[in-house]
């Protein structure tokens, strides 16, 4: 049994040391993953907290991670981020999505670089969930192709292709790519 499987087995028994180890190892990466995708620290912290709450629920109900712990955690993080974006879209009081079109409303303190990042982040939202996930893992986490393939349960070639198509789609969305 691998170390990860032993850790998971202990976590399923709600062993506090095992859970603390998991939290110490993965909370910050999950936070950074969410930050990369949302661009908002507070939201990223909320998302990371939600992911770990779901981990406990999964461990208790038996629907938690069974094979790859980071795969499960990042997968849940991806879904929580998507849920967050859906809520934002539905909520008329939140105007984040207008930012890409309404530059005139942007505070003057924002730099051009920040605007470009905001433009990029908004364009990312137009990708498929899987494409956004791969972009965040590869560029946000600098995760090697092999690790991403393990997390997604795909071949390395499939991940490379997914990444290339996501980048090409982004370029098109930003009207810089034919």
């Amino acid at each position: 049994m691998s170390d990860e499987h032993k850790l998971l087995a202990r976590a399923r028994r709600f062993d506090q040391d095992a859970l603390a180890q998991i939290h110490d190892e993965y909370y910050a990466p999950i936070f950074r993953y969410a930050l990369y995708r949302t661009g908002d620290r507070e939201t990223a912290e909320d998302i990371a907290s939600e992911v770990f709450t779901r981990l406990l629920q999964g461990l208790r109900s038996g629907t938690g991670p069974t094979t790859t712990l980071p795969g499960w955690l990042f997968g849940v993080a991806s879904r929580v981020v998507s849920d967050h974006f859906r809520r934002v879209y539905r909520s008329p009081s939140v105007e984040l999505d207008d930012g890409i079109r309404d530059y005139d409303d942007t505070p003057s303190t924002l730099t051009i670089a920040a605007l470009e990042h905001e433009e990029l982040r908004q364009a990312l939202k137009a990708l498929t969930e899987e494409q956004q996930h791969v972009i965040a893992l590869r560029f946000g986490q600098e995760m090697p192709i092999r690790e991403v393939a393990r997390i997604l349960g795909k071949t390395e070639g499939a991940v490379k292709q997914l990444q290339a198509r996501a980048v090409a789609a982004l370029a098109r969305l930003m009207r810089s790519y034919p």
Partner: protein
């Protein structure tokens, strides 16, 4: 027109090269025919990577809080999980339920941890069960030493519960005991917690820094602890004043500090019997809050004063039977004198087969007018000691005499619930394990 698959293959290759350190310009120069189409994609990839550099250096601000909250939630959910399983059993059959209840009681008597509720904390549905179970355990604790140990265990549990509830940011009623470590305005540090004292907080016996106090209050969802009541851990005992060298008086076998804030009633004098309400400190010192002299002998001219007891006689506060005045026609025979037992060490209680050796009868202190041996003072409890939720943390049992079975306690013996000693109790053969 460029083949789509061909272009995608080049893009994949360029993305790998970009990751390996190549620049966009180098790659475009490598593929001049595809540069117009590759350029925007590679620049996007470079920007994505740069954005990643920034987020990779970001650290969650509330990491420590989140960690504590996560582990507290885990502890709570762990308990709930066991509850669900057990409730399932209970719901299946009334017969099974009855058997399980009986089994649970047996386990409880045996001292096993009542796992269903053991992990519950204030605010949980089963928390009341947990506390009731502790009461049951205490009521079965015949051995005074084990009783004290049990109470200290429960005291630690209360502290852990407050910590768990606070970490989980749950609003709940709490109680715990601990020393006052600091007092800064409305913020008191008690037992490692910062406690908010408001105008509604009831504070008893003016606790000072170092005092052991019991805190009853509630937590807010932001983790704050609000005190509803802070009560100084008091010790009540009775005894004879053996020494009055300020600031330390010797009352019975205890050294008690007397300050200008100590309320003294009656006529203060050596050899008099007093009742004391004192504040306990973690180092086992006592600060007298109130010393009440028994002046009944002074109001009876010609009557002998009460014979001081060789040792302090613990009493239930305000429930002690009044000292019976000696009758002039009655002369107690020496063999009717109470036979105090030796004061054994706590470890003696682990040897129930040992019969304590009686010591010599106490030498009564002869006071003026005491021309005969008065009848011993009767001070028996009117109520059995009540088990309390909040144990006294610092007091080890004293005078835990283990009389042989069938032994009738001497007339001067009386249990004191605040001291957790039960001198009249014979040790029970049934072992009460640690909770």
């Amino acid at each position: 027109m460029m083949n789509h698959e061909h272009l995608e293959a080049i893009l994949i290759e360029c993305l790998e090269a970009l990751e390996a350190g190549a620049t966009v310009e180098e790659l475009l120069a490598r593929y001049p025919a595809e540069a117009a189409q590759l350029g925007p994609a590679l620049r996007v990839a470079a920007r994505l990577s740069g954005w990643g550099d920034k987020t990779r250096s970001a650290a969650p601000v509330a990491f420590a809080q989140e960690r504590s909250a996560f582990l507290a939630r885990a502890a709570l959910m762990s308990g709930e999980g066991r509850l669900v399983v057990r409730l399932g059993w209970f719901l299946r059959s009334r017969l099974v339920m009855s058997l399980l209840v009986a089994l649970a009681v047996l386990i409880a008597i045996g001292g096993g941890v009542f796992g269903v509720s053991a992990a519950s904390v204030p605010g949980d549905p089963l928390y009341g069960v947990k506390r009731s179970f502790e009461d049951i355990q205490l009521s079965f604790a015949r051995d005074p030493v084990q009783r004290v140990n049990m109470e200290e265990t429960f005291l630690k549990r209360r502290v852990e519960e407050v910590r768990a509830v606070q970490s989980a940011r749950r609003a709940a009623s709490i109680e715990f005991a601990g020393p006052v470590e600091a007092r800064e305005g409305q913020n008191w540090e008690i037992g490692g917690f910062v406690v908010q004292v408001t105008s509604d907080t009831l504070i008893k016996d003016s606790p000072r820094v170092g005092s052991l106090v019991e805190v009853t209050g509630h937590t807010l969802s932001d983790g704050q602890i609000i005190a509803d009541r802070i009560e100084t851990e008091g010790v009540n005992f009775a005894g004879v004043v053996q020494g009055m060298n300020a600031p330390v008086w010797i009352i019975g076998d205890k050294r008690v500090t007397v300050s200008k804030e100590t309320r003294i009633t009656g006529t203060a004098r050596l050899g008099a019997r007093v009742e004391v309400h004192a504040q306990a400190f973690p180092d086992d010192t006592l600060l007298a809050l109130k010393i009440e002299f028994d002046d009944s002998d002074l109001s009876l001219p010609g009557k002998p004063t009460a014979t001081p007891q060789p040792n302090s006689t613990p009493t239930l506060p305000h429930k002690r039977e009044p000292t019976r005045a000696p009758e002039a026609t009655e002369t107690a025979e020496p063999d009717e004198m109470p036979q105090p037992t030796r004061t054994p060490s706590p470890h003696k209680t682990d040897e129930p087969g040992e019969t304590p050796e009686p010591t010599h009868p106490p030498e009564p202190t002869h006071l003026p007018g005491a021309d005969r041996t008065p009848e011993p003072t009767h001070a028996k409890p009117t109520h059995p000691p009540e088990p309390r939720h909040t144990p006294k943390p610092t007091h080890s049992p004293e005078a835990t005499g283990i009389p042989e079975p069938g032994y009738t306690p001497g007339p001067t013996e009386a249990p004191d619930p605040t001291r957790r000693s039960e001198p009249t109790e014979a040790p029970e053969p049934t072992k009460i394990p640690e909770p």
